[in-house]
Point group: C2
Chain length 336, copies 2
């Protein structure tokens, strides 16, 4: 290796001070005199020095980095949340790194990150982390540096920031009812998912409030993917007795669902009203434009980071923070 990167010692030599002084000049400017500070700064310029974060992390036992685990980066829903996390993080001088959780399923890479001090903490947008790794997150520190956002897992004492999924579902059903619909079905998210449960709960609650029956054959199983929306549409087409409106647990399934119906001559909203959940970017530009439940994604990201920071600094964070959802009415629903 011909030319090594300059180290703090090179800067020290250039500024005719000790390495300790250089360190202080950079990290605690008011701990050194004006004159030395300037001369150190010049030396940094001259040598082209940049802190070696690895060495710093080793000594400080802190990385200034947070990792966000996303169940599926492909799902457009997460980008705004990430943006929210990033804006809060950069304000605090943190770097955000994103990792897809799916590759982790096999190996225990998540564990690596927490236990190896490569990140100060984790925000998981995935509620179903391998059980064994969770305790590891808190090993050796006062407070778990793990925060759930969007999804969560109960009974682990891990703080979470969530949307009001139940309230959102109620909004959706209320809207359909206000349009005169009484025959309403629901396309579920993946089995076992907390969001699936919360949205279904909202659905049944709202139906009950309006004294409407929840028919088993109108509750279809999905998994948040486009394809599962397509499959659900096929099941729906096979129904002898069809509902006049469907509440779908997310937008992506709605695209698959509506498009497959369209291919079989069933048009939304002419033949069926559809309200979905998420309000991802394309929802507004789908044909028909999607009526859907919007979640304040940027805010949840910011809140998640704030919560992480509180936990990391030893404060006691709010354990459950819930953000409101709103209904965005567009063209995929209409009066019976």
């Amino acid at each position: 290796m011909p030319n090594r990167l300059p180290t703090i010692r090179d800067v020290a030599r250039a500024a005719s001070v000790s390495a300790a002084t250089v360190s202080r000049a950079l990290s605690f400017p008011d701990k050194v005199s004006e004159a030395t500070r300037l001369s150190v700064l010049r030396a940094v310029q001259d040598t082209g020095y940049a802190v070696n974060q690895v060495a710093r992390s080793l000594r400080r036992r802190t990385t200034g980095t947070i990792v966000v685990f996303v169940p599926n980066i492909g799902n457009q829903f997460f980008s705004r949340i990430l943006a929210g996390i990033e804006s809060a993080a950069s304000r605090a001088g943190y770097t955000v790194l994103i990792s897809d959780t799916r590759p982790l399923a096999g190996g225990g890479m998540l564990m690596d990150f927490v236990r190896n001090n490569r990140a100060d903490g984790l925000i998981s947008l995935d509620g179903v982390l391998p059980r064994q790794i969770l305790p590891a997150a808190s090993a050796g520190r006062r407070t778990p540096a793990l925060v759930f956002a969007c999804e969560w897992q109960d009974g682990l004492g891990i703080p979470s920031v969530r949307f009001d999924n139940e309230g959102g579902a109620i909004l959706a059903v209320d809207h359909l009812v206000s349009l005169g619909h009484a025959r309403i079905g629901h396309l579920l998210g993946p089995a076992g998912n907390v969001l699936t449960g919360a949205r279904l709960a909202g659905f049944t609650t709202a139906m009950a409030r309006h004294a409407l029956p929840v028919r088993d054959d109108w509750i279809l199983q999905g998994d948040f993917t486009l394809e599962s929306g397509v499959r659900a549409a096929r099941e729906w087409l096979d129904l002898a007795d069809r509902p006049s409106a469907m509440f779908l647990a997310n937008d992506e399934m709605a695209f698959g669902f509506i498009s497959e119906l369209h291919r079989h001559g069933v048009e939304v909203p002419r033949d069926l009203s559809v309200v979905a959940f998420d309000d991802i970017d394309i929802a507004e530009r789908y044909i028909p434009a999607l009526t859907t439940v919007r979640q304040p994604r940027h805010e949840i990201g910011e809140a998640a980071f704030t919560t992480f920071l509180e936990a990391f600094n030893g404060e006691v964070p709010e354990m459950i923070r819930t953000l409101p959802a709103t209904l965005i009415v567009r063209e995929s629903t209409r009066a019976v």
Copy 2:
């Protein structure tokens, strides 16, 4: 801090060997005897030890981590590429971290990563990195640990893996011509973007081959976003003399474009044929299903990682690797 994480010394004590032996037992199993290896392994189990990657990185001057810079995580186009990178990376024992480039625009965080040894290298899906940071990527090492994928920047001696954008555009135009279209327009990507240039070049080449005129008023400016597609549609609607087909530089703009046209009573493909570029997931489920140019996204991800690894190991990587594009014909195009 009551209970520290166990270190290699704790393991050494538990196994009654030296720390050096523990290190060797874990990293070079055949350098130690069967017996000690087993006893070290047991000690690791007992103590719950996990390597401190920060310390390892400091000493080894290698991190086993690669950072991928994505221009815009929100754009669905990138997820498959990331998956490709991840699958190649995990095979090589590498961890992939993803970072959005937009927050970097302000600060010089990219520089941090390269110069601070927090990652062995970078794959950038963004061709327009701040100029000053590029040389930094190669400082202190034989080969730049930077690889461009999808987008790139010429004249920097940085290897890149790309799609055949020009060929894809030619495929698109040929398809339209084969359907009898002669009046063909084009919606550009963002000004200054290499992809924009390559796709436009393909467009003009193909038009020339068919002896068709490229009309300036039929070349619309976009920037790959949904909204720019909407704006382009409005411009298109204002055209006194309209083309019968449009080649759009990506799918996302196509959604905005087609939906805005739809709102003004212009239907695709009835009134206008549209072929786009990317084949992101929703393309197949848009209404109408989108005719578009597919790029082997998973493969490009794998190729990018392979190229990075070659460069990092001091081999001389292929400087430009081009992957073929294919046309997927669906319902947004039809004969005049």
